[in-house]
């Protein structure tokens, strides 16, 4: 008999909610400056490019490149015990140079992933209605 293990769930706030709301609708949504058009992730209360406080959010293309990755083989949270090994990655999004996010690469043999791989966003249920934006190899 096993006990139910809960995933590490986000606690959305004013800044982070658009990311999670977008994901629940199948969109990758990133904080976007209404003054200068700069994307930033993770979100902050001020735009680091122009110091505007007038920040919104916008969908991005969902396409990107694997900047780096590693393959965790030890779980530091019970949720991941039965998910090892998996691919923890940093993906650079096409929408702005240097715009990166921490994510997972899924639907792939972990040992086949390479830095520079082209990837596209997809969404996986996390729990309690949250959808997690993750990436899989881009269609050829």
């Amino acid at each position: 008999m096993t006990t139910e293990v809960s995933p590490p769930l986000p606690l959305p706030n004013e800044l982070t909610a658009p990311f999670w709301e977008g994901a629940s609708k199948g969109q990758l949504v990133i904080q976007h400056c209404n003054s200068c058009g700069h994307f930033q992730h993770a979100p902050e209360p001020i735009c680091s490019a122009c110091l505007s406080f007038d920040l919104g959010s916008a969908p991005v293309s969902g396409k990107g490149t694997v900047y780096t990755f590693c393959i965790p083989t030890q779980a530091f949270h019970p949720w991941f015990e039965d998910k090892l090994p998996f691919v923890l990655a940093v993906v650079e999004l096409d929408d702005q140079p240097g715009l990166k996010m921490i994510t997972n690469i899924v639907n792939v043999n972990p040992d086949d992933v390479k830095v520079g791989d082209r990837v596209e966003v997809t969404f996986q249920p996390l729990g309690e209605g949250f959808m997690l934006p993750v990436f899989h190899p881009a269609a050829q």
Binding site: F69, C70, Q74, F76, M101
Partner: protein
């Protein structure tokens, strides 16, 4: 750059160190403070500044430390939970002394084995606040995760291999074997041992990681004038610098193979007449072995991307051009969170390393702490 008041290291000390001392953070802090005062030959009343660096959840304040030690009045104190490990305390103390804010400053780093870098991890349904909600749901919880990311990026950019990182672990283990009173490991490491050690986050192996212990480390800094009258031969700070990246999140820094050590190194070299070829020994942070290797490149001891071949050449060994982590590093003497590099280079430069004294007595050493979002380094000289 005009020299301010020269700042000297005049005392170093450790607490008892083990996997489980059973001692409180307070007791460990008091132990290392007393050891450093004994080493310097001074009394608490000679100290007018205390600076601590800590993980937030393991904080022992500078004022509480002073009270435990019976220091009557502090001209300068500072308690830090942000930034590049022990070096943050060192940088504050140097600034305090160089500016005349204090004369003799006790600097401290105390750490308990459990829950060190990562702190508490969420369980159950409490929800992840703040920006960790963009990392933890992906399984990114500890330093070992970003360490794996940094290593993979280096391998992809430069063709470095796991064997390159292993070469570093093997080289510093040799020093550890020669330091049996401080090291927790007493047998040399082979490449097979390294490669067969389990992955934590491939390509990161277990033997790339520092060894968690309870420890407190203390160093005492003072002015050149006072240092001349003290028990130990002083070791001087020639140049020192912090550096940070534009991005605070270690996993999202702009260029993982040129992170904060590059900023700190460039700044440090811009403030001295010394050059990399003048440096005789190094103490480079090895919370993960790749960190020390990024420092070898950032400090200019080898070419960009060439730290693996530099280490494989034997350059960081006792008889090489840059003996590095001559106490065995934190992978072997346990996590002192940056302080051991300052302590060991000081011991080598002032000639108190005992059996471990390098074959060629060093005159100039470099020390460094941290990587990623924040880092610091300093040049130390025997005169």
């Amino acid at each position: 750059m005009a020299k301010k008041n020269r700042v000297a290291i005049v005392g170093v000390g450790y607490s008892d160190v083990s996997r489980g001392t059973g001692y409180t953070l307070d007791k460990l802090t008091a132990q290392s403070s007393v050891a450093a005062m004994d080493d310097a030959g001074i009394k608490p009343t000679d100290i007018d500044g205390v600076v601590v660096h800590s993980f937030p959840h393991q904080f022992v304040s500078s004022t509480h430390t002073a009270a435990m030690l019976g220091i009557p009045d502090l001209a300068f104190y500072s308690g830090n939970v942000d930034g590049a490990a022990y070096s943050v305390a060192a940088m504050h103390a140097i600034a305090a002394i160089a500016s005349g804010s204090a004369e003799t400053v006790l600097t401290l780093r105390t750490v308990h084995k459990d829950g060190a870098a990562g702190g508490g991890r969420p369980s159950g349904n409490q929800g992840i606040p703040g920006n960790q909600q963009f990392s933890m749901p992906y399984g990114s919880f500890t330093g070992s995760h970003w360490a794996g990311l940094y290593m993979q990026r280096h391998m992809a950019m430069y063709g470095s291999t796991e064997e390159d990182f292993g070469a570093f672990a093997i080289a510093q283990r040799k020093f550890a074997v020669a330091n049996p009173t401080e090291s927790f490991f007493h047998e040399e490491l082979t490449m097979d041992d390294y490669l067969n050690s389990r992955y934590i986050a491939k390509p990161l192996h277990l033997f790339d990681c520092d060894y968690p212990v309870d420890s407190s480390s203390a160093l005492i800094f003072t002015t050149e004038e006072r240092a001349r009258d003290m028990k130990q031969k002083p070791v001087f700070f020639d140049s020192w610098a912090n550096g940070t990246t534009k991005e605070a999140d270690f996993s999202l820094v702009g260029d993982m193979t040129h992170s904060s050590p590059w900023m700190a190194s460039k700044r440090m070299w811009s403030r001295t007449d010394l050059k990399p070829s003048d440096v005789d020994t190094a103490g480079l942070y090895d919370g993960f072995s790749f960190i020390a290797m990024q420092w070898l490149e950032a400090l200019g001891f080898c070419g960009e991307g060439e730290s693996g071949s530099f280490v494989r050449s034997g350059a960081t060994s006792a008889t090489g051009s840059l003996p590095t982590n001559t106490d065995g590093g934190a992978c072997n003497v346990g996590r002192r969170h940056g302080a051991n590099f300052f302590i060991e280079v000081t011991r080598q430069l002032r000639g108190t390393a005992g059996d471990r004294a390098l074959p060629k007595k060093p005159e100039v050493g470099v020390v460094s702490n941290a990587v990623g979002g924040f880092a610091a380094c300093a040049l130390l000289t025997a005169e």
